[in-house]
Amino acid sequence: MSCDLEYSVVHSYFDGELSAIRAAEFKHHLAHCSGCMDQFATLSSLRGSLKYARLYETAPASLRLKIRWDLQSAGPTPSWSLPLAWRGLAGAIGVFLVVLILWRVIPGVRKEEDYQAEFAAEIVDAHLRSLLPGQITNVNSTDPETVKAWFARQVKFAFPVRDFATDGFALQGGRVDIVQGRTVAALVYRNREQVFNVFIWRARESDGSAHTGTRQGYQWIDWRKDSLEFCTVSEAAPSDLERLHRLLSE
């Protein structure tokens, strides 16, 4: 049976986009036109397959988090609070100092500013990733020896693992992470409600001075010792971070 109707009318009817009058007309037509009926059946089966295949992609939790931070940082602040101003200033000074030091230590490298920003971003990202449910530790133990033995199998460098529970920083365990394409060890400590990540990797340079920085409200301290680089990051107050830094450096 031939049909003079435009092909898209079947689609409009199928999608409920025809006016009531035209829909009624088409419904009548459909009962008598096998061509349109076939098309209608094809459309139904196609919709069924699409629905059944579960093709809808939902946004990962990490993206939701990132967007929330973007909004926080993009949000202009007519009532610029002092703590925020301080944080910004401390961050700027921190990054400036780090850049200055690196500029002297590594001559010939011209993109230290980019590098530092990238470093801070990656460290904070790694810290935040670890806070997602189930991500914090691969080895879940408060026993330094257990954690140390686990790391011996995972990474090619050795480092001391200690628990500072008596000083308020309880060892939670560790995991292996990737920062700037490098495999790094991450020790996890908890002080009251705050989680501290300590990232450790083999240092390129042996330089004792510590650098600090802040990004998105997270602080980090980075230092090198015995050809290892350490970077601890947390949401906690800078003074708490400094305490952990001192304990780890002892």
Partner: protein, 177 residues
Amino acid sequence: MLNAEDRARFEQLVLPHLDAAFNLAVWILSSRTDAEDVTQDAMLRAFRFFEGFHGGDVRAWLLQIVRNTCYTWLEKNRRMKMTDQFDEELHMQSSATPESIAIAGDDHERLTQALQTIPPRFREVIVLRELQGCSYKEIAAIASIPLGTVMSSLSRARRQLHSALAKRATGADTHEL
């Protein structure tokens, strides 16, 4: 300049459509990783343009921004041909590969692969209509095309998808024989 109140309003009105935004980006870009970056960028843009949004269909408004961000990104990063021509030859060949036959059993894979063979501009109308349940009017607003073009695009897109699926099925049969 947006203030804290605007931000709260944005979070309340726009953020609930993040999944829709991400889904559209995944299907236009054919990559979850790229879609994450582009959606993040688009959300930030939406936030900056939020002052210009004076009520109405917030999802369509957001998806329009997402879509534009996707195409800008594609032009910059991939310089892909966004041809409106459905290349019969190409799809004949691609549907006959052993890989496509092997996946014919899996519905998710099968539909995904078939959708990927149709041009982005047709794929997006299918995604908007079938996956996101948008009306023709919404699709017209999101894709900035006339209503008549929505209808013709959608019928062509469905025809292409159907034929891509049919070819795969035929390929599988041939293989079995």
